[in-house]
């Protein structure tokens, strides 16, 4: 269970362009479920995802991960948790240009010092899961949108995280690929992974996959419901 208590995030505090992205959010994310953050852009979904995923610290408030407070941990521990527990799929995919798909998948595991041969094998197998094995040596620039999406997912899985976080995953995909994405998420859920998605795409929040929808607007949670 990821518990957040009264999270606020303020950017450029004290300056003329001060911006309150989150205002007093308190949500609990259950593990091994699919939680969907729904809301228009500017509602604070991306910011909340970043904080839940240990990528940023809240301005005020606390986060508990399995009853262990993580907000005040030093950067090293935070990075360690992020590396081992979370897998991120970004809105822009954020693959590294100029290297191959396989290399991209391996990159998050480099700091772990895992042996090269076994890492390469594992990365290849992960790509195969998404039918991308034949494109392993393709440079990032040559991948289509759907292919890049799948590489991004594979990359998110390389460190065997238990929680997947995806920010607007279908923003750059057509309907067919969007449905494909949701199917992949279903598979991952069936493997016991926790999934947190942020989207304002109906294909995502109207799908059967979601166990819980948290609706946000202007930095507040306006509806927090379980879909039983």
């Amino acid at each position: 269970m990821i518990r957040s208590c009264d999270i606020s995030k303020v950017f450029n505090a004290g300056k003329p362009n001060e911006y309150k992205a989150l205002r007093g959010i308190s949500v609990d994310i259950a593990l091994q479920e699919v939680t969907i953050l729904k809301g228009p852009s500017g509602s604070g979904k991306t910011t909340l995802l970043g904080i839940l995923g240990c990528m940023a610290r809240p301005t005020t408030g606390r986060i508990f991960f399995d009853e262990r407070e993580i907000t005040s941990l030093p950067e090293r521990f935070l990075t360690d948790i992020r590396l081992k527990t979370f897998g991120f799929i970004f809105q822009q995919f954020n693959l590294i240009k100029g290297i191959t798909a396989l290399d991209n998948v391996m990159v998050p595991a480099f700091p772990t010092g895992e042996k090269h041969a076994s890492l390469k094998k594992r990365a290849f197998e992960t790509l195969e899961l998404f039918n991308m094995g034949h494109k392993a040596d393709a440079k990032t620039e040559w991948l289509s949108g759907g292919e890049a999406q799948r590489v991004a997912i594979a990359r998110a899985l390389i460190n065997r995280p238990s929680i997947i976080i995806a920010d607007e995953p279908t923003a750059h995909l057509d309907t067919r690929l969007s449905h494909e994405f949701m199917e992949i998420m279903a598979t991952l859920k069936s493997e016991g992974k926790t999934i947190i998605l942020a989207s304002h795409d109906p294909i995502v929040y109207d799908s059967d996959l979601g166990d819980r929808i948290i609706e946000m607007r202007d930095g507040h949670v306006i509806e927090d419901g379980n879909l039983a």
Partner: protein
């Protein structure tokens, strides 16, 4: 331990892949860098080897030489001065030294004629240095003619050619008997070129020199350690050409440094953000930057130094040859005895590799510590 080596190797893999992405630019960087280190190291190797050679070979140079000066230039010295100097306490012996130059209009070469103290060639014959033999295509038993001070030709038969091995001291020498040289050069009978002194106690060099100057104010004594120190000053960094080379190298480095220090491009910043977002720590990013600097500069250093050594000691500094020959038509082959000192290597390393690595890492410090969520936007 094994894990951290593997971690470094992974980071190194990634860094090398990054560098290879811009093959042209980084290839040019590596080439220029190597070239600079090559030139610097060549100069250092050459200079150092020459200093050592001079130090070793000139060990037996005269303890004190007494020259006479007139109108600010050195002139021949009256033999009566030798008697005065002999009287100074501590002086073991005083011998006149006869030597001078001869310019050969046919070959545009300058020769140095020396009258040896012992085993001088008999009247009418000379020993010549290997350089002269080469320039005049002369061998033993050939006859060579020179125009003397009297405008008349003087002919000599070549008794022997000094072996080319010792060319660094002998390539332009002509050894001649005293009688022949006086007739050839016109040095007055009661004069010599300068005086050679042997001193009983080396600690007395300075005292004796001062006494000589007091007794004979128009003389200039030159002491052995001063002769040796002269050769430390040759090719020193203050000499015009060496300074020019070092300045050019420094300028090139400044250009690299400016390029690196002007900060990261937006692309690089984005990439660092992505790496942090997928789980790289600040230290991983910094190691990546370290390897980026080290990969280029370490390779350039090793390659440059190895090539410099080969250049100076295997090819006798062939690339410097035009500079070293200058206007001379008679010159030794600069086959120097190799010297490589760790101090020199360490200095070159610290001056070339360390700054480059530092300026590759520093501008990234800020970017390396950004919060990865900036990438989410």
């Amino acid at each position: 331990m094994a894990g951290s080596i593997e971690r470094q190797r992974h980071i190194l893999d990634f860094t090398l892949a990054s560098l290879l992405r811009r093959k042209g630019k980084n290839g040019a960087l590596l080439s220029v860098y190597t070239l600079i280190i090559f030139i610097l190291s060549s100069v250092l190797f050459f200079t150092h080897a020459l200093h050592r050679e001079a130090e070793t070979v000139l060990q037996g140079t005269p303890e004190i030489i007494v020259q006479r000066t007139l109108t600010g230039r050195y002139q021949t010295i009256p033999l009566s001065y030798a008697d005065t100097v002999r009287g100074i306490r501590g002086v073991g012996s005083v011998e006149p030294r006869l030597w001078g130059y001869h310019y050969d209009g046919n070959t545009l070469a300058n020769y140095t004629i020396v009258v040896p103290g012992e085993n001088a060639p008999p009247h009418g014959s000379i020993d010549i240095g290997s350089g002269i033999a080469r320039v005049r295509s002369a061998n033993e038993k050939d006859i060579m003619g020179f125009t003397g001070f009297d405008g008349k030709p003087h002919a000599f038969s070549i008794r022997s050619v000094i072996s080319a091995e010792s060319q660094l001291v002998s390539t332009d020498l002509i050894l001649m008997s005293e009688h022949d040289y006086r007739a050839f050069s016109g040095i007055p009978a009661n004069h010599a070129t300068d005086l050679v002194l042997k001193i009983r106690n080396p600690k007395e060099y300075t005292t004796i020199s001062e006494k000589i100057v007091r007794l004979l104010p128009d003389t200039r004594p030159i002491v052995r350690n001063e002769i040796l120190r002269t050769y430390n000053a040759v090719f020193s960094w203050r000499s015009g050409l060496v300074l020019a080379i070092f300045s050019a190298a420094a300028l090139a480095f400044a250009i690299f440094a400016w390029d690196k220090a002007s900060g990261l491009s937006a692309e690089e910043r984005r990439e660092i953000g992505i790496l942090k977002a997928v789980g790289w720590e600040t230290s991983d990013i910094l190691f990546m930057k370290f390897w980026e600097g080290a990969a280029v500069s370490l390779t350039a250093f090793l390659l440059g130094v190895v090539l410099a050594y080969v250049h100076v000691f295997f090819t006798a500094s062939c690339l410097f040859a035009p500079v070293l020959k200058g206007w001379s038509t008679l010159y030794p082959a600069f086959k120097l005895v190799p010297v490589i000192s760790f101090g020199q290597l360490a200095t070159t390393f610290l001056l070339t590799v360390a700054p480059y690595v530092v300026i590759t890492i520093l501008p990234s410090w800020r970017a390396a510590t950004i919060d990865p969520d900036a990438v989410m936007r």
